[in-house]
């Protein structure tokens, strides 16, 4: 289970995302398997695919059972479609653990040994004297009586006769293997076709005369080869209970592959934090020009002279790079400065209204899940997710807004607020969808908010006991001094809210955002009258409310 990380969830059962993280797809009613074993506590949940993780959120206990798996821990992905009663699954093979170094070496040496034996023959050279022209010859390989092909004399071209030259044959075994590097360098030395100077194999141009050297195929090092461990990698299965999960599987596979390809963070990114990573066209031109020139000169100037030129252009290149780097650094500095000033300004603002300070701290920018209509296979799922988002939004928005966390807002107002704040860019939702989503709160176990109908006509989003709470508050006010109108009641209520806030936080700054709207209070008063709790005194100057004394 070490590959699972715990994740913080909001009260609405949505995971908190880290910075730069965004969600890609969400799938409902899935279960988790570790290897072939079911994980009993994680059999009914939703699964989120983000650009960094796969997050499982349990439906029954979202706070305790939520886990996440980093995408870069996944080696490969396999999708198995459902068969009869078996639901379709997505198998995530985890990356294999790092290999044991000892094992690595032994396998390497085993690999090496046959190579050495093979090359035994090559390490011999034979010296012999031609019996016809008496020229001394040198040929590769061991020459024995059994040898089928006899080398020809370099001088006269007549093949050697073993019996006649037997006496002159000297076997010299040049042991080269001992030091591998020297062997390589010596044997691979590249002779210059013009001046015959033996150049180092990594040279492209002759060191002396500057002639282009014939290309050498570089030996691929076999040592880097990984040995595929025979142990099957650990895997995790995600079982899709409701739908077939193909979309999710495809998205995961793509995301895992993308992550592997990228390798380096910030690669291929056009801009980081608003600064252009792509060099400006000028710089590109300079670099391109400077790159082109040496390649031309490579042919023009050969030898040590050419090398010097080459070096010069390289230095020039470095200069250009450095200047552009410095320019970037300057840009970065100026940006940093502007950020600093911004921060200072914010600091000032904070000092001005410290009351909001605490809320702001709580509202640290967090990447939010973006609920896109396209990510959901059906309307039902979409509404569920919207309901969760609405719940979150309402809870954050009104956390400190009303007296003792009581929320009561007409759905019409809330609709506008929500769409404005959350849905721009991701597709506005319709009033009907909002209403449907709000009606799902009890089903999703979000018990703090509910939809109530005030006076049988106005739909309001409210916390469970807010209505009773306000009624009590109003009654309290009116018992103390009756004969207040709506405006006065609202003012008193808000003052009370601010007062409690004051004592709570021990702050001198009066908070202005605790506000009940007159319209809401009016509706509550209306319902109080209907209940017979309040009576009215209607005058030319307005309607005054009293506690029922009849």
């Amino acid at each position: 289970m070490s590959y699972f990380h715990s994740v913080k969830t909001k009260s609405s059962g949505r995971p908190l995302l880290s910075q730069n993280e965004h969600d890609i797809i969400i799938c409902d009613s899935v279960g988790l398997y570790e290897g072939k074993e079911r994980i009993e506590s994680k059999q009914n949940g939703r699964i989120f695919l983000t650009n960094q993780r796969i997050i499982y959120v349990d439906n029954t206990s979202p706070i305790n059972e939520t886990v996440a798996l980093d995408l870069n821990e996944i080696g490969s992905v396999e999708y198995q479609p459902g068969f009869l009663k078996r639901s379709s699954r997505l198998i995530l093979f985890l990356s294999p653990p790092k290999l044991n170094p000892v094992q690595d070496k032994s396998s390497q040496s085993k690999e090496k040994s046959p190579n050495i034996r093979e090359s035994d023959d090559d390490n011999y050279s034979t010296d012999w004297v031609c019996p016809i022209c008496q020229a001394e010859n040198k040929s590769n390989g061991k020459i024995t009586i059994e040898s089928t092909e006899m080398p020809a004399c370099d001088n006269c071209g007549i093949p050697m006769d073993f019996t006649m030259t037997e006496d002159s044959i000297k076997h010299t075994m040049t042991k080269i293997v001992k030091n591998k590097t020297t062997h390589n360098t010596e044997s691979r030395m590249v002779p210059c076709p013009t001046c015959t100077f033996l150049n180092h194999p990594s040279m492209k141009i002759c060191e002396v005369c500057g002639t282009k050297l014939p290309r050498q195929k570089r030996e691929k090092s076999s040592s880097k080869k990984h040995i595929v461990s025979l142990i099957r990698p650990q895997y995790i299965q995600i079982s899709f209970r409701k739908d077939d999960g193909t979309l999710f599987a495809q998205a995961t596979a793509k995301e895992v592959n993308d992550l592997k390809k990228v390798g380096i963070f910030n690669q291929n990114v056009a801009s980081i934090n608003g600064i252009d990573v792509k060099p400006s066209e000028e710089v590109i031109n300079i670099i391109e020009n400077s790159k082109m020139k040496p390649s031309e000169k490579k042919i023009e100037f050969m030898g040590i002279n050419g090398l010097e030129r080459y070096r010069e252009t390289q230095l020039m290149n470095n200069d250009i790079l450095f200047t552009s780097a410095l320019q970037d650094l300057n840009k970065l500095m100026s940006l940093a400065e502007s950020i600093e000033t911004l921060y200072k300004m914010k600091d000032k603002n904070l000092k001005l209204n410290q009351g909001i300070n605490k809320i702001d701290l709580n509202k640290q920018p967090q990447s939010n899940l973006i609920i896109d209509r396209d990510k959901f296979s059906n309307q039902d799922l979409f509404l569920d997710e919207i309901a969760r988002e609405i719940y979150d939004f309402a809870m954050i928005e009104f956390k400190d807004n009303e007296i003792n966390n009581n929320v009561l807002i007409p759905l019409v107002d809330f609709y506008a607020m929500y769409n404005k704040a959350m849905r721009i860019g991701t597709g506005l939702i319709s009033p009907q969808e909002l209403k449907d989503a709000c009606q799902r709160f009890p089903k999703l176990g979000l018990d703090d908010l509910k939809l109530i109908k005030l006076n049988k006509r106005i739909l309001c989003l409210a916390t469970t006991n807010s209505f009773d709470f306000i009624q009590k508050e109003i009654l309290k006010i009116l018992t103390k001094d009756g004969g207040l109108d709506v405006l006065k009641i609202t003012q008193t209520l808000n003052e009370m809210a601010n007062d409690t806030e004051k004592t709570d936080n021990d702050e001198t700054v009066k908070r202005q955002n605790a506000a009940w709207t007159v319209s809401i209070i009016g509706e509550i008063l209306q319902s109080c009258i209907d209940n017979g709790i309040l009576v009215i005194d209607e005058q030319m100057s307005g309607v005054y409310y009293f506690k029922n004394n009849f």
């Binding site: 004969g483 009258i529 009576v535 209607e538 009849f550």
Partner: protein, 201 residues
């Protein structure tokens, strides 16, 4: 101008003067009103009230007559709307606590224009039956049976000063005595085509 009316504390409650939108509360409110009117009328021996709520209060010492509108509270500057007053009248009549001068049913229209100042009602803090019993009782107590007694004697004689029906308007008395006639206990005598006396058997 002194008004010796003992009004309950609720009379100073501003919502009392506004017709309450909640029906059950309104019924209670009307009850409260009827209670106020009846207790006051009984205390001050007020027999009539105009349609607008004007009552004539006679100071027992100075015999000075002051008009007091029960539906207008000058202290808190509140008054009832005619529609609401009508509702109160209707309710009182239903409960037999209000009588039109000619004994006929009230014709209370919701149209406020038809309110006429001279229209007056009798307030019955006791029901007609109760009044009839009380008068019969008086006849028996004072051994006036089988005698002809004028209406004037009944309500204005100094001997009857302590009776509850003292100073009762004669037309109202006539309405009460009619019940006795109906019961077959009395006959009324006419003079100038108007009933003026009664003989209880």
């Amino acid at each position: 101008m002194t008004v010796h009316l003992e009004l309950p504390a609720i009379y100073q409650f501003p919502p009392l003067f506004t017709r309450q939108p909640n029906k059950s509360i309104r019924n209670k409110q009307i009850e409260t009103w009827i209670n106020i009117i009846l207790t006051n009328c009984e205390q001050c021996k007020i027999w009539t009230i105009t349609k607008q709520g004007d009552m004539k209060i006679i100071d027992p010492d100075t015999q000075q007559v002051t008009t007091f509108n029960i539906f207008h509270n000058t202290e808190i500057d509140r008054s009832c709307s005619p529609i609401f007053i009508n509702e109160i009248w209707q309710m009182m009549q239903k409960q037999g606590q209000l009588l039109n001068r000619d004994g006929k049913d009230l014709k209370i229209s919701t149209d406020s224009d038809e309110l006429q100042t001279d229209e007056e009602f009798y307030i019955l803090w006791k029901s007609l039956e109760l009044w009839a019993n009380e008068i019969l009782d008086w006849f028996e107590r004072t051994t006036q049976l089988n005698k002809v007694v004028t209406f004037y004697e009944i309500v204005s004689s100094e001997d009857n000063f302590n009776e509850s029906f003292y100073s009762m308007p004669e037309p109202l008395l006539y309405q009460i005595l009619k019940i006795l006639v109906k019961r077959g206990r009395a006959t009324m005598l006419k003079e100038n085509s108007k009933y003026v006396a009664i003989k209880v058997i």
